[in-house]
Amino acid sequence: MNTPPVQTCKRCLYNTNHPLGLVLDADGICSGCRIHEEKDTLDWADRWQRLEQLVKPYRSRDSRNYDCIVPVSGAGDSFFIVHLVKERLGLKPLLVTYNRYYNTPLGIRNLAQLRRRFDCDILTQSVNPLSVKKIIRTTLRELGSFHWPVLAGQSVFPVQTAVSHRIPLIIWGAHQGLEQVGMFSHLQEVEMTRRYRKDHDLMGYEADDLLSFFDYLTEADLWQYRYPDEAALERVGVRGIYLGNFVRWDPWAQHQQMVKQAGYASARMNRTFDIYDHVDDWHYMDTHDIIKYHKHGYGRVVDQASREIRHGRISRQDAVSLVSAYQGNRPRHQSMLFTWLGLEKSGLDFLISQLPCHSIQAVVASSGFADAPPRHFFVPEPVAKLDMNISERQVIVGKGYPDNFISKTA
């Protein structure tokens, strides 16, 4: 097949090499920007009413039961999601979280603050770290991904819990494919599917597919990441909905609201201007982002800058400057990763050299980010620091953790 030429959207910074797929229209505007336009034309009050009707049958008549499951982390949109579910919809959620093993003290603090502030029960899944490390070594080698276990775990643990606890409704925040590349209209009210998870979250490889690689992974390492079987899903009637179809989703504004209203803590990170996303994970905006950069030709800051263009808070030129300022920054926590995984820097360098976009200069030049003059973009002062204090590492659950953390580190 002839590969079509790469085209860049005239409005945001994405091009047609986007790993989720991207379609440009005759005006050179991408599908993500076109779907984003719906945010300013839809009747969101009406959408909210649709959501209220949708969740109505799932309200438990018994106060001892949960109404729904809400997957959370110590960052992302978790605070805003729980705020909507608990305080606006009036549901009783069971929070579930997957332990990524890259937790920052700030993320643990945020997670503790989340369940205390919103008075929720939470289930945590920690897969044994030996298996996790084995899987990472395999997916790193075969798929160029450190993150497969995180993506697999956080997307399947809520579904497994829905089946095991017989709580059919799972409520997620925004649909990544809709928000980034306009995979669906908000009006299509897309729901969670196993197909999307495999196709995009897991790069085409579910747990059992990893067994096809010729190495030392066994079923015992992978069974925790298996999607529940079809019959179990149908029996319970598991259904995962996205709040972003019913609420005008705006992560930057939502985070600011949650900082003021619910005690969410932000922090500055080395490779992005966004002080809100991923503060719970010392690896995501670090070596993981370097891999993303070499694999797809852009880092997470491009996602965030494109989002801000679409929301009208920055111009395209501002966005290019921001990307230029951050995307080349070095990772800060690589040595921790090497120690944890037993990986050598030369091994990582070799892996990067095998990735499709490994020539940084070529990527920067082709994306138009080179030599962009620095421009001013207002970023609020973060509440805390992404502190890596060794003494804090023992704190896993977050019991009593939030109280002094911010004053110590800010």
Partner: protein, 255 residues
């Protein structure tokens, strides 16, 4: 007669499975392999893969081979770029069980007979994108050129003859919009063919499918975009149509 079929469609453009809206606007969905594997697991009665931008490139054999390698238990029908007897042979060899013919019906109708000889009449399905023209008549739309007009004589002869096994009737106006299939398009075709008909375009919900199933010539309905919005979409549709002459839901027991 066998009960009617509920088939899933996967539209492929520039190598990506896409949502298609009137073949003029598209939204990305993902890898065709993942969508097809999913339809197979869900128990679709058939899977139709339409590579809509093949033009003169011939069929996307690499795609068909990847789909064939999935070990599907659902019949796979492929359309896109099929213009010659050799194309038909290659596509079937690569893994397609049936072939959808579109542009070749207009541009080289003589090739259809050779294709039928090569792979069998039962393997060939005619795709007819139809819409109502400003004159109130049913028109045939040629995707490549955008031209439309009354159903050409050569196509009428083909669907009346013995070289094709089914006709995929595409509601071009409603395609992708989820507003339902214009049933009168099926009635309009009755005058030209006795072949079993498949309805595609605009179908998203059970209440849109139900009235079509009473049409005696209809052999099945094909749903595209709407199967991507919800888990077990095939099962949900079939559950809402259990009172209809539709094949029962048969879910794969795949972990």
């Amino acid at each position: 007669m066998l009960r009617k079929r509920l088939l899933g469609a996967v539209v492929v453009r520039q190598g990506w499975a896409v949502q298609s809206f009137g073949y003029r606007r598209w939204l990305p969905l993902g890898k065709a392999e993942c969508l097809v594997e999913n339809l197979d697991r869900w128990g679709a009665d058939g899977i139709v893969v339409l590579a809509i931008d093949r033009g003169d490139q011939g069929p996307d054999l690499a795609l068909i081979e990847r789909l064939g390698a999935l070990g599907l238990s659902t019949p796979l029908t492929y359309g896109g770029g099929l213009a010659t007897e050799e194309h038909a042979r290659e596509a079937v060899r690569a893994g397609a069980e049936r072939l959808v013919l579109d542009s070749v019906l207009s541009h080289n109708p003589q090739a259809v007979g050779a294709m039928a000889s090569a792979v069998g009449v039962q393997a060939l399905v005619a795709a007819l994108p139809l819409l109502y023209g400003t004159d109130g008549q049913v028109h045939h739309l040629q995707h490549r050129s955008g031209d439309q007009g009354l159903l050409p004589e050569r196509i009428r002869e083909l669907i009346a003859g013995g070289q094709l096994s089914e006709v995929l009737v595409i509601d071009s106006t409603g395609e992708g919009l989820g507003q339902g299939f214009n049933q009168s398009l099926l009635q309009a075709l009755e005058a030209y063919t006795d072949l079993p008909l498949l309805a595609f375009g605009g179908l998203a919900r059970a209440e849109q499918i139900r009235p079509l199933l009473s049409h005696p010539q209809l052999a099945g309905v094909v749903v595209g975009n709407a199967l991507n919005y919800r888990e077990h979409a095939i099962g949900h549709l079939k559950a809402d149509l259990t009172d209809q002459p539709l094949r029962p839901h048969r879910q794969r027991c795949v972990i």
